[in-house]
């Protein structure tokens, strides 16, 4: 913690305060997010939860990942360290869908004032029926939301979140490995199991990416167009538009 300049008084915590003042100031300085919230933030930002000192929560998340892997019946080895890796495509998607919505004007100098950001939460949007597409595309249509995790209903438990994250991570891994069919299956299971899940936009984006990977461009575009319309202005929508060839990178 930086020391104040010499022309300014000594900090109360360093001296000159009464016991009561010191006690409440120290308490005020100790205020912070709970380990669970910290772990969630770390994951969404894309930094290691362990690295930020939330070992307990990270351990729970890792345990949950293992459990979810078993549930999903997938054999890919995914440890806690691979959950939402550093601003990978999906990590960013997970982040931006919940947090970064809209315009960001950060082109000024470092010393410039932070620019005005649009609100991070936007109303839920529902993807229309996909009946016009092939069966696997049309299979369980889940509501897609670009609002933040914290605004998706009741506060999620760590166990719920860790399972959701693990399943999404499995789908991401499948997409990355070029196994689009498996990715679609995992996404379908996710959307079945979590009809109001916290990562529905991400799952939809993965589905579109998987379809593109399978060469089902027309199906992907149908979904992408709806996704973009329902999540207009979000970075995830832009990502999906690029993926489906609706717009240029």
């Amino acid at each position: 913690m930086s020391r104040p300049q010499t022309d300014f008084p000594e900090r109360l915590l360093d001296g000159g305060a009464t016991d009561f003042e010191r006690r409440i100031l120290a308490a005020g300085a100790s205020k912070g997010p709970s380990p669970e919230v910290l772990a969630q933030m770390a994951q969404r930002i894309g930094v290691s939860a362990t690295a930020v000192g939330v070992a307990v929560a990270a351990k729970e998340l890792a345990t949950g990942a293992t459990a979810a892997k078993a549930t999903a019946g997938a054999g890919a080895g995914i440890g806690s360290t691979t959950l939402l890796p550093w601003i990978s495509v999906v990590a960013l998607a997970l982040v931006v869908a919940g947090v970064v919505v809209g315009t960001r004007l950060w082109k000024g100098s470092p010393a410039a004032s932070p620019q005005v950001l649009v609100p991070m939460s936007t109303p839920r949007a529902t993807v229309p029926s996909t009946s016009s597409t092939s069966q696997s595309v049309a299979a369980p249509t889940a509501p897609l939301s670009n609002d933040s995790l914290s605004n998706r209903g009741a506060t999620p438990s760590v166990s719920d979140l860790r399972e959701e994250i693990a399943v999404i991570d499995l789908a991401r891994t499948a997409v990355k490995a070029g196994d689009g069919r498996r990715a679609l299956e995992i996404v379908r299971r996710y959307q079945d199991k979590y009809p109001t899940g916290h990562f529905l936009p991400e799952s939809a984006a993965l589905k579109i990416e998987a379809l593109v990977g399978l060469g089902r461009i027309a199906d992907a575009r149908v979904l992408a167009e709806r996704f973009v319309a329902d999540n207009k202005g979000t970075m995830l929508a832009k990502r999906v538009a690029i993926l489906a060839g609706l717009s240029r990178p």
Binding site: L13, L38, M41, S88, W106, P110, S113, P114
Partner: protein
């Protein structure tokens, strides 16, 4: 204005250098609580605070190369204030805004850290918002006076005067709360 994708995305699957990842992790480790508290002081709900904290670090991640190592905390605080501003929180605002005496009754276990945090918020809520901001940044977050001046875009002299007035108000409120607590303990 059209949003621009971060380099990590626009460049495809390749992420930023390992050094950037390590740096962001360190920044998050070192300063997430400061960012969190800064946003809490704007009266945002816990959910919004979490969102805004994430937003702050995402902005930092995008601008890592622009952030001087010695200015990381100041950058994050300023960004957090900008995020709060965008959410309509332009000044310090406290969640606990009922009457101080009523709130005192909520503090059952004095000495418990959580209770002390409530007391701290309670006392700070009695300090004028503009003064409380300077006070919190200086006394709680440990920012230097030039950093605060730059953050709030006010002269250094204003930082000094606000801090002085904030201390006066803080100490009066703290004394009052302490007296009330003693009174309750005796009754």
């Amino acid at each position: 204005m059209v949003n621009s994708l971060p380099m990590a995305v626009s460049a495809g699957r390749s992420g930023p250098p390992e050094t950037d990842r390590v740096r962001l992790e360190r920044m998050f480790h070192d300063h997430h609580a400061t960012v969190w508290r800064t946003l809490c002081r704007r009266g945002l709900s816990p959910d919004k605070v979490a969102d805004a904290t994430q937003e702050t670090f995402i902005v930092a991640a995008e601008r890592l190369s622009d952030i001087r190592p010695e200015s990381e905390r100041a950058f994050l605080v300023k960004t957090a204030l900008g995020v709060a501003y965008s959410l309509g929180r332009k000044t310090v605002r406290w969640q606990l805004d009922e009457d101080m005496d009523l709130r005192l009754s909520e503090v059952r276990d004095v000495g418990d850290t959580r209770a002390d945090i409530q007391l701290c918020d309670l006392v700070l809520s009695k300090v004028e918002p503009d003064l409380a901001e300077v006070f919190a940044l200086y006394e709680i977050e440990g920012l230097t006076s030039p950093e605060i001046a730059a953050l709030l875009e006010i002269p250094l002299g204003s930082v000094a005067s606000r801090l002085r007035r904030a201390r006066e108000q803080f100490r009066i409120a703290a004394a009052r709360v302490e007296r009330s607590l003693r009174k309750e303990g005796e009754s």
